[in-house]
Amino acid sequence: EIKNIVYPLYQLGNPQLRIFRPSWFLTLVRPGKEQPPDTVQFRIPMDMTKYDVKNYLEKIYNVPVGVVRTRIQFGSNKKRNHLNQRVKKPDYKVAYVQLAQSQTFTFPDIFPEKDRTLKEGSMEEMQEKFMEDEKQRQKSDPRRGGVTEWFGL
């Protein structure tokens, strides 16, 4: 939301630029391809650099960062909508951060299957019962032994 921020030009001998309240947001993503155990993959805004990512993680998250490599992923412009206009998927920058001090990181499973015991008389319980009844109604007669309706009798 901080748009049109102009930072002072840097020339040799100028003081180090310090950014307070950065408006950069990183997204940790699960790697598509197999990565080494110490590599963490992020999606970062396009105007962030490797040094920015390093300082960001070190200062805000207190994570020991070794090397950062970045690339820009092109979002396809090939898909077309119902008006035959090309729809652009936005481009994004990907950063591969290697952790220092021989730390490892594995992307955790954030959506584990939890068995939920539904409360008696609650909306969810009624909905579940209804869905089960519907499924039972759709099934064919078990006495036919798997024979389809196409065959008469």
Partner: protein, 259 residues
């Protein structure tokens, strides 16, 4: 700060934090879902336990130290994810977003820290959303994203207000970036904001080609624009008058609206 000794300073700081951020226990989170308005004053907009752990501030008593201390979070990359208890839950409870009125009561230090708290929460939500998209599942309680965004925008507005007020008092300038009213090629007058260059403007070859005046041949086009604007305005006024006349004809006892 009234007290001069470091101990006194620390105590006043603790008292200030106690009054400013009332960290209520996790039980009250349930009441939050019932009545959000009531919770606005008492609870932070984030999960209280997240705040409780990140507010573990080591305060040192060594000598005459300035009363400024930073949070040491020992969790690193874990902060990109929610607490493990909330993984797999279909709904995660969260409070109301910060309003500008509430934020204006906080000090600059507190706003600075709150910005980073909100930033980390936003990063966490972004990672959650992306992973949900990847697994083709629904993200639990997606309304949190908008709440955080609005809180951050309001925080930024409050900080900007304070900065402009300070700048006005100190220098008399209301804008931080210098600018000027200039006319562009199309006849429009606009606020041109100055840009920082390494060479002066009279040596800048590319800047010479930029025209801050309206050439003579643009005047007819400007006149046509003015005519169109006047015509549209006249049309609006006429439409209003005609509708009123029609209504008056249909309903003779009608009283004319105040607007």
């Amino acid at each position: 700060m009234a007290s001069s000794s470091s101990l006194g300073r620390v105590l006043t700081l603790c008292k200030r934090f106690q009054s400013v951020f009332r960290i209520s226990p996790a039980i009250s989170v349930q009441h939050c879902a019932v009545n959000l308005k009531r919770c606005q004053n008492n609870l932070l907009s984030e999960k209280s336990s997240l705040i409780a752990s990140s507010w573990i501030t080591p305060i040192s008593f060594v000598g005459q130290r300035r009363a400024l201390h930073t949070t040491v979070s020992r969790r690193g990359l874990e902060e990109f994810f929610d607490q493990p208890e909330n993984w797999g839950e279909p709904n995660v409870k969260s409070g109301a977003p910060w309003t500008a009125k509430q934020l204006r009561t906080k000090s600059n230090e507190d706003l600075h820290k709150l910005w980073y708290v909100l930033l980390k929460e936003r990063n966490m939500l972004l990672t959650l959303a992306q992973e949900a998209k990847r697994q083709s599942l629904q993200m639990p309680s997606p309304e949190r994203m908008k709440k955080i965004e609005r809180s951050m925008v309001r925080l930024d507005t409050v900080v900007r207000e304070r900065e402009t007020a300070l700048r006005l008092l100190q220098t008399g300038q209301e804008k931080g970036r210098p600018g000027d009213w200039r006319r562009n090629v199309f006849g429009y007058e606009y606020w041109y904001r100055f840009k920082e260059y390494t060479i002066p403007w009279y040596m800048n070859k590319r800047h010479e080609r930029k025209k801050f005046y309206t050439p003579h041949f643009v005047q007819p086009h400007i006149r046509l624009r003015i005519e169109r604007f006047l015509r549209e305005r006249a049309r609006k006024v006429n439409l209003k008058r005609k509708t009123l006349a029609k209504l008056k004809e249909r309903f003779p006892q009608m009283k004319l609206p105040s607007s």
